[in-house]
Amino acid sequence: MRWLRKNLVVIAGLLTLAYMILPNIVVMVFSFNKPNGRFNYSWQRFSLDAWKDPCGVADMCESLSLSLQLAAWSTVGALVLGTMIAFALVRYRFRARGAINSLIFLPMAMPEVVMAASLLTLFLNMGIELGFWTVLIAHIMFCLSFVVTAVKARVMSMDPRLEEAARDLYAGPVQTFLRVTLPIAAPGIAAGALLAFALSFDDFIITNFNAGSTVTFPMFVWGSAQRGTPVQINVIGTAMFVLAVLMVVAGQIITNRRKKTATA
C-alpha cells in the first residue's frame, strides 16, 4: 500500500499515457486486418494486403498528396508572415502593440467552427470560387498566430547584444541577420514550422467549410467514415506515426552528438 501511495503520480501518469496511445495501437493493429464488408471496425483476420498496396483505394493518395502540398505552402506562408510579426513585436516598441497582440491572440481563442463559417461568408459574398486557394488562405490565417507565438518565445530569450557585437565587427545588416539572428532564432522558427505543418495537415473543420469540391486527406477520412473505411487509411496513419517517432529519435541523436562534440 505504501508503495502504491508513493508511486501514485507515476501510475496515474502512465495510465493517461496509455489512454493517449491506445487509439494509435488500434490503428496499427487494424492496418493488418482483412475486414468483412466496407467498415474496418471489427477484427476479422490477419492480412498484409493493405500494406502491399497502400494506394489501392481510389482518390486516397491524391488527397494525401494534396494535403502535403497544402501543409507545405501553408507552413511557408505562415512562417514568413509570422516570423516578421514576431520580430517586430519583440524588437520594437511602437504604438498599437497591444491591439496587434490581441489581433494575433484572437484566432487562437475562437472556436474553429466560427472562423470557418465566417470565412465562408466572406468567400461567398465576394463570389470567390472555393478550392485549393481558399483552403490555403484559410490555413495560413489560422497557422499564423501559432507561428508568431512560437517564434516570439525564442526571440524574446535572445540577447540583442549579440547582434550589436556583429555590427560592431562591421557586419552589414544582411550579414548580421543571416549569420547571427537567423541561426539563433532557428529553433523557434523550426518549432513554428512543425506546428504549422501539423495543424494544416490535420485540419478538418476549417477545410470542410472552405474547400468546395476539393478533397484533402482529413476530408477523405471523414467521407470514408460514412461510406466505408478502407484498411489503407490505417496503413497511412501507422506510417505517419512511425515516421514521426523516427524523425524525433533521429533529431535527438543529432542534438546529443552535437552536445558531445561541443563539450569535447
Binding site: L8, V9, V10, A12, G13, L14, T16, L17, Y19, M20, L22, P23, N24, V27, S42, L81, M84, I85, A88, R91, Y92, F94, I100, L103, F105, P107, M108, A109, P111, E112, V113, V114, M115, S118, L122, I137, I140, F146, T149, A150, A153, R154, M156, S157, E164, L195, A198, D202, F204, I205, F209, P218, V221, W222, A225, G237, T238, F241, A244, V249
Partner: protein, 310 residues
C-alpha cells in the same frame, strides 16, 4: 517542439536593445515587418467576422438572394430553437476540460519531475499521436468502444455502466453513440493541448522550492497544494482555455462517436451552413457561440487572475 501556450511574456530577463538614434526610415521598420501578416489577419480573420455579422441580420432565400433587413429576430429564434445544443456543447466541453486537467496533470507532473532520463521519450509519446490524423484516431475509438469490445465488457462486469446509465451518460450496455463516448473522444482529442502547457509551467518551477517546503515540514500533499499547484496556474489556465475553446465548437466527435441525441452546436452550425444553406441562422448561431465563449473566457481569466495572459 515548443508548446502553444497562451502566456504572453516568458520570464527570462531580456536585455533591452541599446537604442541608437532612430532615423525616420528606421522608425518605420516595425510597421513594414507587421504589414503583410496583419493585413492577412484583417482581411481573412476580422473582415469575415464583419461579413458574418451582416449575414446574421439578413433575410431572404437562396433563390431570391439575401438582403440586410436588420432582422435581429433570427438570433432569438436560433437560440430558442437550439438552446439544448448550446447547453450540451458547454456541458460536454466543460466535462472534457475537467477530465483533461485531472488526467493530464499527473502525466505532466511525471514528465517534469519524475521522468529523469525518460523525459524526452515521454514527451515524444505525448506529441507523436498528433502525427496520425486525428480523424483516424477518433475513428479508432469506434472500435475501442464498440458494443462487444473488451473495454465495454470490463466496464459492464465492474457495474460501471449501471451507474453511468442511471446518470444518463450511457444507455444500457452501450457506450458508443452515448454522451460518454462523445466526452471520451473530446477528452482524448484535446489532452495534448492540456499536457504541454502544464508541462512547460511545471518545468519552470525551481526544484529548491520543493526542498524548502520539505525543510519546513510540509507533507507532500501540502507542498503540492501550497507550492506546486499555485505556481503551475499559468499552465492550468492556458491548458483549460486551449481545451475548452476548441472543444465547445467541435462537431467531429459528436458526429463520429455520438448519436442524434448528442449533437453539439458545432453540428448545427455545420449542417445549417453546408446542408440547409440557411446562412442567416447559421451566422447567428456562430455569433452566439462566439459571444458565449468570449464572455466565459474573459470572466475565467479575471477570476484565475493570471496577469501574464493577453
Amino acid at each position: 517542439m515548443s508548446t502553444p501556450t497562451l502566456t504572453k511574456e516568458a520570464p527570462q530577463p531580456v536585455a533591452e536593445p541599446v537604442l541608437r538614434k532612430p532615423s525616420a526610415r528606421k522608425r518605420l521598420v516595425p510597421y513594414w515587418l507587421l504589414l503583410p501578416g496583419i493585413i492577412w489577419l484583417l482581411v481573412f480573420f476580422a473582415l469575415p467576422l464583419v461579413y458574418q455579422a451582416s449575414t446574421s441580420v439578413q433575410t431572404g432565400s437562396l433563390e431570391q438572394g439575401f438582403q440586410v433587413t436588420w432582422h435581429f429576430q433570427t438570433y432569438w429564434d436560433a437560440f430558442t430553437e437550439y438552446w439544448p445544443q448550446f447547453v450540451r456543447s458547454l456541458l460536454y466541453a466543460g466535462t472534457a476540460t475537467l477530465l483533461c486537467l485531472l488526467l493530464g496533470y499527473p502525466l505532466a507532473y511525471l514528465i517534469a519531475f519524475k521522468a529523469g532520463r525518460w523525459r524526452n521519450l515521454l514527451l515524444v509519446l505525448v506529441i507523436a499521436p498528433f502525427f496520425t490524423s486525428f480523424l483516424i484516431r477518433t475513428l479508432a475509438w469506434k472500435t475501442i468502444l464498440a458494443d462487444d469490445s473488451l473495454v465495454v465488457d470490463v466496464l459492464n462486469a465492474l457495474h460501471v455502466l449501471d451507474v453511468t446509465s442511471w446518470l444518463g451518460w450511457t444507455e444500457g450496455e452501450r457506450v458508443l453513440a452515448t454522451p460518454m463516448a462523445v466526452v471520451c473522444g473530446l477528452t482524448y482529442n484535446f489532452l495534448p493541448f492540456m499536457i504541454l502547457p502544464l508541462y512547460t509551467s511545471l518545468e519552470r518551477i525551481d526544484g529548491r522550492l520543493h526542498e524548502a517546503a520539505q525543510d519546513l515540514y510540509a507533507t507532500p500533499a501540502t507542498t503540492f497544494r501550497k507550492v506546486t499547484f499555485p505556481l503551475s496556474m499559468p499552465g492550468v489556465v492556458s491548458g483549460t482555455l486551449l481545451t475548452f475553446i476548441p472543444a465547445s465548437g467541435d462537431y467531429v466527435n459528436a458526429e463520429l462517436l455520438g448519436s442524434t441525441d448528442t449533437k453539439m452546436v458545432g453540428n448545427v452550425i455545420q449542417s445549417q451552413f453546408l446542408r440547409v444553406l440557411d446562412y442567416p441562422t447559421a451566422a447567428a448561431l456562430s455569433f452566439i457561440l462566439m459571444a458565449i465563449v468570449l464572455v466565459m473566457v474573459t470572466v475565467y481569466i479575471r477570476r484565475a487572475g493570471t496577469e501574464d495572459l493577453v
